[in-house]
């Protein structure tokens, strides 16, 4: 979707299933996504859309006993991460690609000091000795706005916002090429969320890291990202620059999402709710998985899943109706 050579990570035809007692859950369905160097890409969707599964799938962190990657190629530096050995993966995780988790209360280990947890990454990937690593960890803590003196404190001694800063410091320790942030501010209050967003904005420009921002908050996407991919039932249904997609949404689901948010600026009396319920991943409808909730479905929608079509060079949508309207 842009120049090929700039692509940092390319996911194609990615399919993930979960085997559970109730049956097979189709979490990711033929997902295609590319992240370019230095790009900040937002991934939005409701709960159960497969956002987190995508993130964990990239790093191959999905639970081994229940999740199965049916097909797909995750191309990173010419290598396919979907078929990589565990040893090679461990070299990449935390070094080339790192992740910030949703809940800062549970993503840090309570029995290690925060300094130790940041230093751990540096010892593993940069082969620093203990003293150097701790020194470096102190510097990283200062970059995210926490006093170096607190390096020997334990996670429980920090507030939620500060813990998330520690998580960010650990994720940035090796200046990764790609940072995956999985709802990093959902567990935080708005004023603390504002602190974290400002921090991420400045760090991203400082480190020139590519960012995959996963969130259900469209406001955060519009603040932090250049491009956005809207996800529904395990697949991308609309992709483009934030400006294009938010000001001129094409897919009925994106339109619905934007209409469902109460706005601070205008005075709508009623919100436009999307009818029906989120598609059941155990029994996905045939054709376009959004068609049972869609107001403008046609014959084709019920039979064949739509393919991504280009609206213009910065806007793509997977919808039969949009194609016909053209």
């Amino acid at each position: 979707m842009n120049q090929e050579k700039d692509i940092l990570l390319k996911i194609s035809d990615f399919v993930v299933e979960f085997r559970t007692e109730t049956g097979t859950k189709q979490a990711i369905n033929h997902l295609d996504l590319a992240i370019h160097k230095g790009e900040s890409l937002g991934l939005v969707g409701e709960s159960g859309a497969g956002k987190t599964t995508t993130a964990l799938g990239i790093l191959r962190l999905l639970p081994k006993h229940s999740a199965k990657i049916k097909s797909g190629i995750i191309e990173f530096h010419g290598q396919d991460m979907a078929k990589m050995s565990e040893k090679r993966l461990m070299e990449i995780r935390g070094d080339k690609i790192s992740m910030i988790f949703q809940n800062p209360l549970t993503s840090l280990n309570p029995v290690f000091t925060v300094g130790e947890q940041i230093a751990m990454v540096l010892r593993k990937h940069k082969k620093l000795n203990s003293r150097q690593a701790m020194e470096e960890a102190g510097k990283l803590m200062e970059t995210v706005g926490i006093a170096k003196e607190r390096i020997r404190d334990y996670p429980h001694q920090f507030s939620g916002g500060m813990r998330q800063r520690i998580g960010i410091a650990a994720a940035l320790a090796c200046s990764p090429e790609l940072l995956i942030a999985d709802e990093p501010t959902t567990a935080l209050d708005v004023t603390i969320q504002a602190q974290i967003l400002e921090l991420m904005k400045s760090l991203q420009s400082q480190y020139n890291t590519s960012l995959l921002m996963i969130t259900h908050n469209l406001g955060i996407i519009s603040e932090l990202c250049k491009n956005v991919a809207v996800m529904y039932a395990g697949t991308i249904i609309e992709y483009g620059t934030v400006k294009e997609v938010f000001s001129n949404p094409m897919h009925p689901y994106t339109k619905g999402l934007l209409g469902a948010i109460p706005s601070l600026d205008d005075h709508k009396d009623r919100l436009v709710a999307i009818p029906g319920e989120v598609a059941n991943p155990y029994h996905l409808p045939e054709g376009c998985s959004f068609h049972p909730r869609c107001g403008c479905k046609c014959e084709e929608c019920m039979k064949v899943p739509p393919e991504m079509v280009e609206i213009n060079d910065s806007h793509f949508v997977a919808c039969w109706a949009c194609r016909e309207g053209k």
Binding site: D189, L218, E223, G259, A260, P262, S263, L264, K268, A273
Partner: protein, 340 residues
């Protein structure tokens, strides 16, 4: 300010302290007063730990207040000892809880959850029960197939609708909505908000709507109160609050919300630090240590909640100057991303 007979609920100087041992007292709610008109909605916003939910549960008398009055249709409920009268208040005031996963009894079917209120208060006979339940289900959009289901079989949005239907079953006049949509996805949230607003119009309900999400509160409320550390720091009609924000905390809170609008980006005030502890607070302005315009007096004297314009109350020494100061700070680039 408003006609006395129009007011349904009036809370005066409500305080709720918790003893946390070793002579420490947690001031969860400290001197909160507000009033609510019939058919209106008062939104209560603030960050976690600011005491909004405690206000809700004390108003419902789920907890006893440390001091204060609650006038419901002119009578003080906190002092009421008469059992029969108390039962009547229970009927008139209901609550919708935040978490639809823990607020419904997992061992009961939806039908028995909805019927519980009628059975306790004996407002209908056994023969009428089915008709009344059908009516209630129709009003709230619960299909009859759901009656024999258990809460775990429903998704979050439907559970919250059951919670709302249960609150409505006894035809209350006043409902406390304690973060009713914060655990729901946006598309489901829109449905629940629409339902709440339709029911309000139909039954002339009054809501105390508690939420941390300012855009949701703005959507549903007539008046909004902003809380910080157990106190109301600013209260005004919703349009006034958003257009003429005066308290520095409200200004920061409004600017902190990430906006979808790609065209008009406003500069943001990032507050430093976290909310301080509400244990044994000093008699000074509680926001002073995080405030970007605090001065000597803020650390010495607690400001009062003063009415600066009709219906617009602010608790700040510099209420009138705050907007000017903000404009000044913007010019010097003090608050664009920088922590001040």
């Amino acid at each position: 300010m408003m006609l006395e007979n129009d007011t349904l609920v009036e809370v005066k100087n409500l305080k709720k302290y918790f003893n946390v041992g070793k002579g420490k007292v947690l001031h969860a709610v400290d001197d909160v007063s507000f009033s609510l008109k019939k058919g209106h909605t008062l939104g209560l916003v603030g960050e976690s730990g600011c005491g909004k939910s405690t206000v809700g549960s004390v108003t419902m008398r789920l907890q006893d207040p440390t001091s204060g009055e609650l006038l419901f249709e002119g009578k003080d409920i906190f002092k009421c000892k008469d059992k029969k009268e108390n039962l009547q208040y229970r009927r008139d005031m209901q609550i919708v809880f935040q978490d639809p996963y823990s607020s419904l009894n997992p061992k009961k079917t939806i039908r028995s959850i909805l019927a519980e209120g009628y059975q306790i208060h004996h407002t209908v006979t056994k023969g009428e029960l089915n008709d009344v339940l059908s009516l209630l289900s129709e009003k709230t959009g619960i299909s009859k197939d759901m009656w024999e289901q258990y809460p775990h079989e429903l998704d979050g949005g439907k559970r919250q609708v059951v919670g709302i239907a249960r609150a409505l079953s006894l035809n209350p006049k006043f409902i406390v909505c304690d973060e009713p949509v914060s655990s729901l996805d946006v598309s489901v949230q829109a449905k629940v908000l629409n339902l709440l607003m339709d029911l309000q119009e139909e039954m002339n309900l009054s809501y105390l709507f508690i939420s941390h999400d300012l855009s949701v509160v703005k959507h549903i409320s007539d008046r909004i109160a902003v809380m910080y550390l157990g106190q109301i720091v600013e209260m005004a009609d919703k349009d006034t609050l958003f257009s003429e924000t005066m308290h520095p905390y409200s200004i920061a809170l409004l600017s902190a919300i990430p906006k979808v609008d790609v065209e008009n980006k406003v500069s943001r005030i990032v507050l430093k630090g976290d909310v301080p502890s509400p244990i044994n607070p000093k008699p000074i302005c509680r926001f002073a240590n995080r405030c970007w315009m605090s001065q000597q007096i803020c650390f010495e004297k607690e400001p009062e909640l003063l009415e600066v314009a009709p219906g617009h109350c602010v608790k700040c020494h510099f209420a009138k100057e705050s907007r000017k100061l903000m404009a000044g700070a913007e010019k010097t680039g003090l608050n664009s991303g920088e922590q001040i």
